[in-house]
Symmetry: D2
Subunit: 388 residues, 4 copies
């Protein structure tokens, strides 16, 4: 099953790492560390092979992909020898990268995107196409009446004003072009009634929001631990220091707010109460593509005895996110192929702020993901057990 | 269901905190924080009420229980106001505490214990009796041929040499007296073929080993997190600094070895490979009843990118262990009442080194525990849904 | 030398701990841990004995001192047995506590303060009087033309508007009453030209600002370490989580700004350049009178190799501040007795934002302090070497 | 002043980094970050210029220096671009590297070393020669009667048994060849009466022991901080996790003992008492050339209030040590030129276990170092103020 992966923000760190990694896996130069869909529990016939993924995308910047890959190699995100070995392949992908459409009405820009998506699909004879948003986090979207109704939205897009945030315009174009959509960021994406209607109309699935790659990942196992042990979490305070492009964007208080909110949600929903404390994000350029998060948890045990836990997470967001982007593209394509439409709530495992999720516990999300994938494999014809 | 809880090491910190806590709960002076069996998911008719627990036990030391409770209050383990309010009740429990039997053959000492257990049961008209070992960790036991066969063991106990470690002698006496047995320590306890045979002969359940209250608890959610995300853990190094009586005991390298081994098991069994690094235990008197554990985890993500996580856990072992002692007494009594015999592998959730456990993942252990408890409640007659 | 210590914010945590501690030392119930002036290097005849300190003060709240002390004992700041043993002495100090003056013009309130200070001095036949501000941090003061000139200030105080922040009004009253002044907070205090002139006119010394008790104390030894080793500090980010009254006050962004600024000053001045990163203060009620600070320092070594250091400081501000309050009262009284007037820059060792300080390095401040104290002792008559 | 630096362990990580760095500085490709002697406070005419340093040495392994440098580049210790740019220069240094002498008596080996040292000096027309030991840490030396007397030592060296540890044989050869000696390791080196006598006889200075580059560096500012504030340190526990060649060596308990002892010395000597706790060293291969140290300090403030501090240091020992090796070579050569003989106690700033040091406080050591260097500059003729 040849599967296209169209990356919004295709020259960003996450996208570039995803592309380098997929090419390295195809060339047999790397192991699929961090790819959840390569675990024995999840592997199987329903998923497109990693070697069947074809990459395209668009970006507001135009730095060549090889240059971006070299920058990431200098920063220690990807090995320099891989980038050197994959120059030809990266140049090949460059052919399928486009500038982000600008100018004209949002309807015009959406039309351009749709043309690019269908062109990409035709050029590579793709069976499925998944648009994945890995661009910078947007500010919280301004509400607009047309968000609630598809017909009104179509009309408004043709007008002179921008009515959709960019992530939603991409979802609109994806659905219009018959592509599934994954939002790896906290931006609005497909989360508008008009877009939900469009996905339903076109029979398309979508997934999101906000890839769970660091502090929140840890929270999603520690908070259930406290809950399962009936320990009373009194406060949970987090500090996230991050450099890189993402850090600079998030230094903008508006974007910060969206992210911080999605990072805290796991606590209230897992514990059943909201402990004291806040999560902060701060830009520290020197950290580059790495992120350091420090969390302090104070909790009470039997008879109220006060105790505490701290953790420091020093992770490379791109190296954590990129394999999940590949996972999500495979899973969403397989879901589409199997006839799933609408929000893929079974993919909550991957997200900080999962669509319609009943749980924020990683372990429970893992069980739901396993059930979902096994059903995909079963539906994929005769294969009632995972390869592996 | 009046349930006796006979504590081996009844004047130790864990036992004293358990007793103070149970009395405080009975008097309505405290909330059951840390009691897993009080969670809505687990509550129900099969379990003896917390107010139905009756405490007895023995110890090698003879400091009065009220004095021990005051010491714990001074150390910040239990609130001083509770100890002051419960003086009469603590003095009441004192009546059921005995010196640890000494002198004579191990058969003599076992007989003394059996007499004390049956006396305790008769005196309080107990429906069930559970012996819980919360005494200091023993050195790794010296093997003896009689461990393998019940008849041989009975013969050997009457001889002049000690053939059983103390924890196993207590299990022997418990089973002989018709009591269930829980080992909250890493000592040998019921883990000898001869004792397994005895439990089977008497139709008794037992549980263990080594209460999971700190660093290993955290490991049992973090290691599965790395595994579920297909991240490669390169090294996991732990340092445990602890004061208190337990710390001094564990400073003995022999006892230390048993504990350290049970602390590392979770990694290999959860990850499927053993990362580099070791766990150490060290005595630091000034930490008193608190323990500080620091762990460093190095791991690789996509394309081998190196990352790291550290955590510091500053916990009060007694305040973490005591509610679990109450949980285990309730659960084991209920299992006994429902006809369970042999190792209660469904209680793996509570232990570092669980009997016959298929998993070290806390989340999976939680699911097994929930299934087990719901079955107990169902068996307890008509009650097909938890109170709560 | 009978020395009065008049505490502004006399019922706050720092003041109460200072009073309890001084009474405990006088009664021989405690050791002078944390009192710098009791170190062998600094002890000597020039300083009033700890037993010669007499306490008074005012506060906007009126909770009895014994009640405040009990609250601190419950919070683990001072030992409950000390508070119990010192009830009579605390009640004695209560006699010398006054409500903060309210109503009327600032001139009226200053006059009330002056009357109270002189009454306190007369009542106890004090040789010296030091006013120490340990009240809550004020917002950054609003500039006013009268701040620049003593005559203009006197005129303006009689008017209907408040022209001075409260800390400065206290400094004004102190100087008017012939008392020295110490500002242990980041508030404005004596740092106005008009007040500088008043201190000079009356021949009085003053000291400040902002007691250095936690994160900044650590910074003041770590930053010089990096500088002495010619290591390049790239970023220094700090998070301060604090509960207690101080935390609630500092949650007010205006007060926060003053504090944060004084916390960062040490870096630029010690390193000679300002690394990336910020310091934040956040209120977490559950931490009570304790504070947890976490700092991440990234730095480069030879050939640019990136390295990092983190520290967590878990301190009790009152227990750290109180002995320094006693030190500062003794030192300022001795300086006054020896004829020092104006800013006591030699006391920079004690402050985050020291008056006129040439250095923020704790080690250099220590040398200056030692020289200063030895000179005081020498001036105190014949004693040319420290007792001790 | 052309100055030879003969490195014992010349192909090790520290030596290779020192050589790469010195060549990079000479070529203008790097800044002297981490070089203490390049600070404005210390620069001046007495020190040989960094560009006047000439490198030679010997090692038990024979991996080419360029290969070792590439390995360090792969490990992130030195920048790959530097190694690539300096290939020719590294090949040049290779000419002056020799295998460690083996076979024959220790007298034979010493004679070989002396020949190599004098050959090196003659070949490069060196004004001064400094031997610096940066080889792996030795086990604690076995005492021998000949250590006490130079004549007895000379006789014993000619015998069949090894009487000196290798570090001391190198010091013996250095002194015999008229070279100064620096021991950057905790090995015995020149610390034997017979060698002290030889240094005196030949009028040569020497320095040591054990470069202070990580956890102990931090301790040497934090311990004085607690002391200056009269805070009572209750416990200080340290864990050092290290990979690389040094880690593997130190995993040997015998070598470990020497290192651990020198790491703890700073506490007792700075605080005036020995707090509880220990320092451990453990090998974790995955950490490579980096080291992670974690320390927990518990301390009491006023009235006994318990507090705590932790720090994590994640450093690259080679990148921290190499610039100090250059500093020590320059300083020792300058001291030799100025007529200093015997132990250079003024260089305590650089060492964990300094020769004859009165203080372990980094700040005090810094003052002594500054005085010493200024005196060197003054003696260097007319230059009474630092360049810079």
């Amino acid at each position: 099953m040849r599967t296209g992966v169209w990356l919004v923000g295709a020259r960003g760190s996450v996208a570039t790492t995803s592309i380098v990694g997929a090419l390295a896996l195809r060339a047999g130069l790397a192991a699929p560390t961090g790819c959840v869909t390569e675990l024995p529990e999840l592997r199987g016939p329903a998923l497109p092979a990693l070697t069947d993924l074809v990459f395209g995308g668009h970006d507001v910047v135009c730095t060549p992909l090889t240059k971006r890959a070299e920058t990431l190699a200098d920063a220690g995100v990807v090995p320099a020898r891989l980038v050197a070995a994959l120059t030809a392949e990266l140049t090949g992908v460059e052919e399928d990268l486009r500038p982000a459409p600008t100018g004209g009405s949002q309807a015009d820009r959406a039309a351009t995107l749709v043309r690019e998506l269908t062109g990409f699909r035709d050029r590579h004879a793709l069976d499925r196409l998944v648009v994945v948003n890995v661009s910078a986090t947007e500010p919280v979207a301004v509400p607009h009446p047309a968000h609630a109704d598809l017909a009104a939205l179509r009309a408004a897009l043709a007008g002179p004003d921008d009515v959709l945030p960019n992530s939603s315009l991409c979802a609109y174009a994806a659905f219009t072009a018959g592509a599934a959509f994954v939002d790896f960021t906290p931006s609005t994406g497909a989360r508008l009634p008009a877009l939900t209607a469009l996905a339903a109309e076109r029979g398309l699935p979508y997934a999101g929001h906000d890839g769970k790659t660091g502090e929140t990942l840890v929270k999603s196992v520690l908070a259930p631990m406290f809950a399962m042990r009936n320990l009373a979490v009194r406060s949970w305070s987090g500090t996230n220091l991050l450099g890189g492009g993402d850090g600079a964007t998030l230094a903008d208080p508006a974007a910060n707010a969206a992210k911080v909110e999605s990072k805290q949600r796991v606590l209230g929903e897992t514990l059943g109460y909201v402990p004291q404390g806040h999560t902060r994000i701060e830009y520290v350029e020197d950290l580059g593509d790495f992120k350091t998060a420090w969390d302090l948890v104070t909790f009470a045990g039997f008879l109220g005895t006060g105790m505490r836990m701290e953790f420091t997470w020093h992770g490379c967001d791109s190296a954590l996110a990129a394999p999940l982007v590949l996972d999500l593209a495979r899973l969403t394509a397989a879901a589409h192929a199997t006839g799933h439409t609408g929000p893929l709530t079974e993919l909550a495992f991957f997200f900080k702020d999962p669509l319609g999720a009943a749980t924020h516990s990683l372990a429970e999300q893992w069980i739901r993901l396993g059930d979902f994938v096994r059903a995909l494999h079963a539906a994929a014809g005769g294969a009632d057990e995972p390869r592996g």
